[in-house]
C-alpha cells in the first residue's frame, strides 16, 4: 500500500514505531560514540549486529512460513483492508498474484453473510487475541464460492494495542463434499438393509454391531435385544455350534472370500430353524467385522426332506404289492399251481408284462425325481466313449438281427476320452438305441461320435418313422409318448427321454433332436470335456465342503515326475490305483502330476501314503529303465494349509 493510500492513524502509528526504533538506534550510537576505550563499545555494536541478524533470520523464517503454508494467509488492518496476502490466498481467490488482493477488503470476499458478522468477528479477535474455527463462504474472482475454515489473530504493536489482523483460512470445500457424499451413501445403505427381505447383520468380537429388521424377525427378537447384546454364536443351535465356530475362526484368519453354509438356529421362542448364512470379512470402523446375509430356509428344507421321503416311501409302497402280484402270476404261468390253458396263459402274460412296465415306471420316476432335484451323485471317471458306444451297440445286436436292421458305429480314430459317469451315459445310449429300434423297421441305425476341442458330440441316427413336427418340441417332456407308436410293440414309460435329458444336462451338456416324418430321426447330444484338472477341482471342492461340515481333515498329495511318455504315465495310473484303495481316496493325473485326495486323513497318513506311492513309482521307473531324476512329493492338509482348493493345490505344488 502506498503511503498516500494509508489512513492517517496508520501513518501516525508507523511513524511512532519508526521513531521508537530511531530512539533505540540513537541510544546505541551514543553508546558507541561515548564508548570510548577499546572493548567497551564493540560488545554493544556486536549485540546490535546480532540482534539485526536475528531479526533478519526471523523475518526470513516468517516469510518462508507464510509462503509455504498450504493455507491462505492474509494480513489486514483493523477494518479488514488487505495489507499482505500469500500465494495461497491469491490462488484461492483466483487471482494471478498476491498484489491483486492488496487493498481489497476481506469482508467483501466473504459473502453472502452480512458484513456485520465479519466485523463482529474482527472485534472479538481484537478483544480475545485469537478466534478459531470460523466458517465462511469465500467468493472467488470468477464468482464461484468455496467453504473455508478460518482463524483470526490480532497483531499488537509495541504499545500492546491491536494494530493489524492475521487471517489464516483453509479450503474445506472438498472435505465437506466428501462428507456429505459419505453420509448419502451411508443413508442409502441404511435404507437398503433396513428394508431388505433377507436378514443382514454386522458382527465383531462375538457381538452384533447391527442387525436389520428382517434378521431380528427371523429369530423373533427386537433389533435392540440383539445389537451389542448378543452375537451369532448365541443364536446357533448347540449341536451346530462347532461348525459355526470353525467358520468364524476361518473367516477371521483367512482371506476375505465369502463363506456359505447352513446351520440350525434357535429362535427366541425355542423354535428350531434352518439358517442359511453367507458371510464376508470387512473393515468396519477401524476393525475387522463380519457382514452376513441370512435366510430362514426351514420351509425349503422341510419340503425337500418331505419330497425325498415321499418319493422313497411311495416307491416302496408301490413296489411291495407289485412284487406280490408278480410272484403270484409267475407261479401261475409256470404251472406250479396246476396246468394253465392257453388263453389263461396269454392273459397272465399280459398281466405280467404290465407289472414289469409299472415297475420300470416307478424306477424311472424315482430316477427323474432325483435328477431334477440335482441329487444324482455322478461318479465321473475317464471313459472312452468309443468303447462305451460299441459295447452298447453290441448289446443290441441280437434284437437288430431279428428285425433286420443294420447298426454301425462311426468314431474318430483312437480313443475318445471324457470324464463322465459311465453307467449314466450307458443309460443314455441304451435308451436312444432302444427308441431307435422301436421305431425303425428297416434300414439302419448309426451311432456317430465326433471329438472337438472342448466337447464330444454323439449322434444316434435312424431310418425309422420319424417324429411328428408337432411332437418335436415336447419330446423330452415327462410322460410324452410319440403319437405313432408301432402297433403291438411294448409301450414305453414316457420318462426315458426326460431322464436322459436330465443326465446330459447334469453333465453340463445339451441334447437335441431332428426328424423327418417317414425318413428318420437323429438324436444328438454334446458333452463338454472337463480336463482332469477341472474334475479334480470339483472333487476337491466337494471334499472340502464335507470336511468343513464334519470337522475332519482332508489331505492333498502331489507326486510329480519328469517323464513325458504318455504310455508310461498311463500305466503308472494303474500302479497308483493299486495303492489308493480306500473308498474315500481318489487320484487324478494332470500330465506328469499325480494328485491324490484323501478325505478324512491328516498329515501323518498322507505322508505314509506319499512315501509308498513314491517308492512304487520309482520302482516302476527302474523296471522300465526310464530316465528320471526322481519323484517330487508335496502335501497340503485342510484346514492347516488352507481352506480353499486353490490354496491346497498351491501348497502341494510348493513341494
Amino acid at each position: 500500500m502506498k503511503d498516500y493510500e494509508k489512513k492517517p492513524e496508520q501513518l501516525i502509528s508507523e511513524l511512532q514505531a519508526a521513531k521508537a526504533r530511531i530512539d533505540d538506534l540513537q541510544k546505541v550510537l551514543s553508546a558507541v560514540a561515548f564508548g570510548g576505550a577499546a572493548g567497551g563499545m564493540s560488545p554493544v555494536i556486536r549485540r546490535y549486529q546480532r540482534a539485526q541478524e536475528a531479526l533478519r533470520d526471523s523475518e526470513e523464517s516468517y516469510r518462508a512460513l507464510v509462503e509455504t503454508l498450504p493455507d491462505a494467509v492474509v494480513m489486514t488492518d483493523l477494518e479488514g483492508n488487505v495489507m499482505m496476502a500469500n500465494v495461497q490466498a491469491a490462488a484461492m481467490h483466483g487471482a494471478d498474484s498476491s498484489e491483486e488482493l492488496l487493498g481489497k477488503n476481506i469482508l467483501e470476499l466473504v459473502a453472502p453473510r452480512p458484513k456485520e458478522r465479519g466485523l463482529d468477528d474482527i472485534e472479538k479477535a481484537c478483544r480475545s487475541g485469537i478466534l478459531r474455527g470460523l466458517e465462511y463462504e469465500w467468493v472467488t474472482k470468477t464468482g464461484s464460492s468455496l467453504i473455508v475454515e478460518a482463524s483470526i489473530c490480532a497483531l499488537h504493536g509495541v504499545d500492546l494495542k491491536p494494530r493489524a489482523l492475521m487471517v489464516v483460512a483453509r479450503d474445506i470445500t472438498e472435505a465437506r463434499r466428501t462428507d456429505s457424499a459419505l453420509r448419502e451413501s451411508e443413508e442409502r445403505f441404511r435404507i437398503l438393509t433396513e428394508s431388505s427381505l433377507a436378514g443382514v447383520y454386522i458382527a465383531s468380537q462375538g457381538r452384533f454391531n447391527y442387525v436389520n429388521p428382517a434378521f431380528a424377525q427371523i429369530f423373533g427378537y427386537e433389533q435392540k435385544e440383539l445389537i451389542h447384546k448378543m452375537g451369532p454364536l448365541d443364536l446357533v443351535y448347540p449341536d451346530d455350534r462347532p461348525l459355526m465356530e470353525r467358520q468364524l475362526a476361518l473367516r477371521a484368519a483367512g482371506p476375505s472370500d465369502a463363506a456359505h453354509y447352513l446351520v440350525r438356529g434357535v429362535r427366541k421362542n425355542g423354535q428350531i430353524i434352518y439358517w442359511e448364512i453367507l458371510s464376508r470379512l470387512i473393515d468396519y470402523k477401524d476393525t475387522k467385522a463380519l457382514v452376513g446375509t441370512s435366510l430362514d430356509v426351514t420351509e425349503r428344507k422341510k419340503a425337500e426332506e418331505l419330497k425325498d421321503e415321499f418319493v422313497i416311501t411311495v416307491s416302496h409302497e408301490l413296489r411291495a404289492p407289485l412284487a406280490i402280484i408278480k410272484e403270484g402270476i409267475s407261479l401261475l404261468t409256470e404251472g406250479i399251481l396246476g396246468k394253465v390253458g392257453r388263453k389263461q396263459q396269454h392273459v397272465l402274460i399280459i398281466a405280467r408284462d404290465n407289472i414289469n412296465r409299472l415297475a420300470r415306471t416307478i424306477d424311472n420316476l424315482l430316477d427323474i425325481s432325483r435328477i431334477e432335484a440335482g441329487r444324482t451323485n455322478l461318479k465321473k471317471t475317464r471313459v472312452d466313449m468309443a468303447v462305451l458306444a460299441r459295447a452298447c451297440a453290441a448289446a443290441f445286436r441280437t434284437r437288430l438281427r431279428e428285425k433286420g436292421v443294420r447298426l454301425s458305429v462311426k468314431c474318430p480314430p483312437g480313443a475318445v476320452v471324457i470324464y463322465v459317469d459311465s453307467d449314466r451315459i450307458n443309460q443314455v445310449f441304451t435308451n436312444l438305441l432302444d427308441n431307435a429300434l422301436k421305431f425303425t423297421d428297416k434300414g439302419r441305425i448309426q451311432i456317430e461320435l465326433a471329438d472337438s476341442r472342448g466337447s464330444i458330440t454323439c449322434r444316434v441316427r435312424d431310418t425309422g418313422y420319424g417324429i411328428l413336427k408337432s411332437d418335436l418340441g415336447r419330446i423330452f417332456d415327462k410322460f410324452q409318448q410319440a403319437n405313432q407308436p408301432k402297433a403291438g410293440s411294448a409301450k414305453g414309460t414316457g420318462l426315458g427321454l426326460s431322464i436322459i435329458k436330465g443326465i446330459i444336462e447334469a453333465h453340463g451338456g445339451k441334447i437335441s433332436v431332428e426328424s423327418r416324418l417317414g425318413k428318420g430321426s437323429c438324436f444328438s447330444f454334446i458333452l463338454p470335456k472337463y480336463s482332469s484338472k477341472e474334475v479334480m477341482r470339483e472333487y476337491l471342492a466337494g471334499g472340502l465342503k464335507d470336511a468343513m461340515r464334519k470337522g475332519v481333515n482332508l489331505s492333498l498329495l502331489l507326486l510329480s515326475l519328469d517323464i513325458r511318455a504318455g504310455r508310461h504315465l498311463k500305466m503308472m495310473e494303474e500302479v497308483i490305483a493299486r495303492h489308493v484303495r480306500r473308498d474315500d481316496d481318489a487320484f487324478f493325473r494332470d500330465g506328469a502330476d499325480f494328485f491324490v485326495v484323501m478325505k478324512g486323513q491328516g498329515r501323518r497318513d498322507a505322508a505314509l501314503l506319499s512315501t509308498r506311492l513314491a517308492q512304487a513309482l520309482r520302482a516302476y521307473c527302474l523296471r522300465y529303465k526310464l530316465r528320471s531324476r526322481g519323484v517330487l512329493a508335496g502335501c497340503a492338509v485342510f484346514p492347516d494349509d488352507g481352506q480353499h482348493y486353490a490354496d491346497l493345490i498351491n501348497k502341494a505344488k510348493s513341494l
Binding site: A320, L322, A323, I324, I325, K326, E327, S330, L331, I336
Partner: protein, 124 residues
C-alpha cells in the same frame, strides 16, 4: 440227502405264502418269520442253511439282523440274501457293509432269486 432249509423273513404275509409255495416246489424246507425278533430267534435256533431277509421289518430292521448274525461266530457262515423294495445306492452299500451275501430288489424275477439261492447254497 437232507433238504436244505431256507428261513424266509418278510412282514408281507401274502408274499411269504407265495414264495413258500415256490420254494417248496423247488424242494426246499421253508421256515418263516414276520418280524425282526422272530427272525433272530428262528435264525439262531432253526438251523437254516440260507436266510432271505426283508429290510423293512417291524421290531428290528433287516440290516440290524444281518449285522448281528454276521458278527456271531455261530451263524456268520449262513448266507443272507437281503430282499427289499429299496433300491437306492446307499441301501445297497449299507447292505454290503453289514455283510449281506446278496441284494435283490422287489419286484424281482423269480428265476433270479432261485439262481441266487442255489449259487449261495452250492458254496456251502
Amino acid at each position: 440227502m437232507t433238504k436244505k432249509k431256507i428261513l424266509l423273513v418278510d412282514d408281507e404275509t401274502q408274499l411269504v405264502e407265495l414264495i413258500k409255495m415256490r420254494l417248496t416246489r423247488e424242494d426246499y424246507d421253508v421256515l418263516t418269520a414276520y418280524d425282526g425278533e422272530e427272525a433272530l430267534q428262528k435264525a439262531r435256533h432253526g438251523n437254516p442253511d440260507l436266510i432271505i431277509l426283508d429290510i423293512m421289518l417291524p421290531k428290528m430292521d433287516g440290516y440290524m439282523i444281518c449285522s448281528l448274525l454276521k458278527r456271531d461266530r455261530r451263524f456268520y457262515k449262513i448266507p443272507v440274501i437281503l430282499f427289499t423294495a429299496r433300491s437306492q445306492e446307499e441301501d445297497i452299500k449299507l447292505g454290503k457293509k453289514v455283510g449281506a451275501d446278496a441284494y435283490i430288489t422287489k419286484p424281482y424275477e423269480a428265476q433270479v432269486l432261485l439262481d441266487k439261492i442255489s449259487e449261495l447254497l452250492g458254496k456251502g
